[in-house]
Structures are given as structure tokens and as C-alpha cells.
Symmetry: C2
Subunit: 122 residues, 2 copies
Amino acid sequence: MQRDTRQRRAIRRVFANAGRPLTPDEVLEHGQRIVPSLGLATVYRNVKALADDGWLSQVELPGGGLRYELAERPHHHHFLCRSCDLAFDVHKCPDEVEELAPEGFEVDGHELILFGRCAECR
Amino acid sequence: MQRDTRQRRAIRRVFANAGRPLTPDEVLEHGQRIVPSLGLATVYRNVKALADDGWLSQVELPGGGLRYELAERPHHHHFLCRSCDLAFDVHKCPDEVEELAPEGFEVDGHELILFGRCAECR
DNA sequence: GAAGAGATGAGAATTAATTATCATTATAGC
DNA sequence: GCTATAATGATAATTAATTCTCATCTCTTC
């Protein structure tokens, strides 16, 4: 059976408060403010388990590793800051993007990434 | 001074014929049909040099390493096949995407990636 | 509060992509 | 054709992300 540990609760709380995709390192950093002893392996284990459970989903953005975000959220896209490398949510989506594919291609999803500098970094 | 080697010519030809972004491994594979002795290190070196010269540009798509494509091309986007993992060009672009960013964010570029199955894989 | 079993944490191991090393080869300029 | 020197190819080394190992800890249940 699966146990409800301090660590897992902390990791869930980190995502619930984040409102944007997080890398495992970011989860570690924020999680250690709640459970200081939290280790990176535990973050990887739990993030993976939460994704398997369908509570988190993977976000693959250019440059480096996977990020994770809460799964049950309305369709949205991402903004990647070139300065601080944080990812942010973009809640608007251009319509009918999936119509743009070449003839004969079957589209089952899309990702739109805006690049630039976030409000903090400007 | 920079020399015009068989290997570099082959790599340039591979990109000129590709019409889509290529990984270093793909460049190696196609390049070896022209120069069979071509090595992976040479591909990395030349691809990097050609990118520094502005002849190639880097394309970062989800999942794994960098890809490269001819630099001087009209604005376009990419389709990533979930089955064969090849990247293809998409020549249409939804208008005004960069307007979608949150208040206070400065956008200087964007990437739209369509996911699905390419014509071959269907 | 004791016992069993899943979870943790620290660091080692793995993996994949990329870069460095270095003896050998091939190109550009004479 | 000859020379010097940049480029190559094979492989080792590096790097960063992720996973594994295992002794220890701590939930859960009784």
C-alpha cells in the first residue's frame, strides 16, 4: 500500500502552490522549505509516482530535463524565460492550430512555447 | 584558415537535401552515404561550426538532443512524429501568437510544435 | 508501542549527449 | 609535388539528468 509521508505531502503542496511547471530541482528547493531533509531521489520517485497516478503530467520544453505540472488543468501553453529559465503558464491558445499540419499527417496534440523575458527579469 | 573538406561538403549537402531538422545521428547516417568514413565527432564539429557561421540554426524540440536546420529559411514550425521521432517542417503559422503572453512579459520568439504520426508512419 | 513493510536520503551507478585527445590524413598555398 | 597545418576518426572523457542501492527511518496496523 502507498503511504502518506511528510515528503509526499510537501511535494504535492509545492505543485499546488506553483501554478507553473517545475523541474525536479525546483521541487527540491521549494520542498525543502517544508521538509528540510528532503532529498533529490525522493523528489524524482514521487514526481514519477504522481505522474503515474495521473495527478501530475510531464511537460517537455526546450533545453534540458522534464518539468511537471498539475494534470487536471484547462488547456494552456507555456512561456520560457531566457533569463531565469523558469517556465510560466500562458492561458490563451490560438484556435485551430492543429489544422496547420502538412497533408497526410495525423495530429493528436500541440505545444506552443513563447520565449522572452518574464516580468521579474525585465 | 578554414578548409573545404569532403566531409564538410557532404554535411552541407545532407542539410540542403533534408528539408527538415536533423539530429547529429541523422546527419551521420545520411553523410556516410556520401563519405562512408565520416565519424560522429566530425559531424558534431562541423554542425557546430556551420551554426557559428550562421549557415545552420539550432532547433530544440522536446525529447533528447539538439537538431539543426538551414538557417536562412522563412518562418515556420515543426511537427514531431511520436512513432519514428523524426521532425518535419510546418510552413504555416497562426497569426499574432506572441500577443498571448501574460501582462508584463516580453516575447521575442515562439515555437509551435504539432505532435502526431507522420504520413509514413500512418 | 511493537512489528512489518513501504519510503527515505546519501551517494554511487547509469545513461545519453556532447566534447576532448591525439595520432594520422588531406587540403591550400607555394 | 612539397610543406605546414587544419581536419579527421576512433575512442576516452566529460557532463547533466535520472535511477539504483542499501542502511535507516517512519507510517500503518494491530
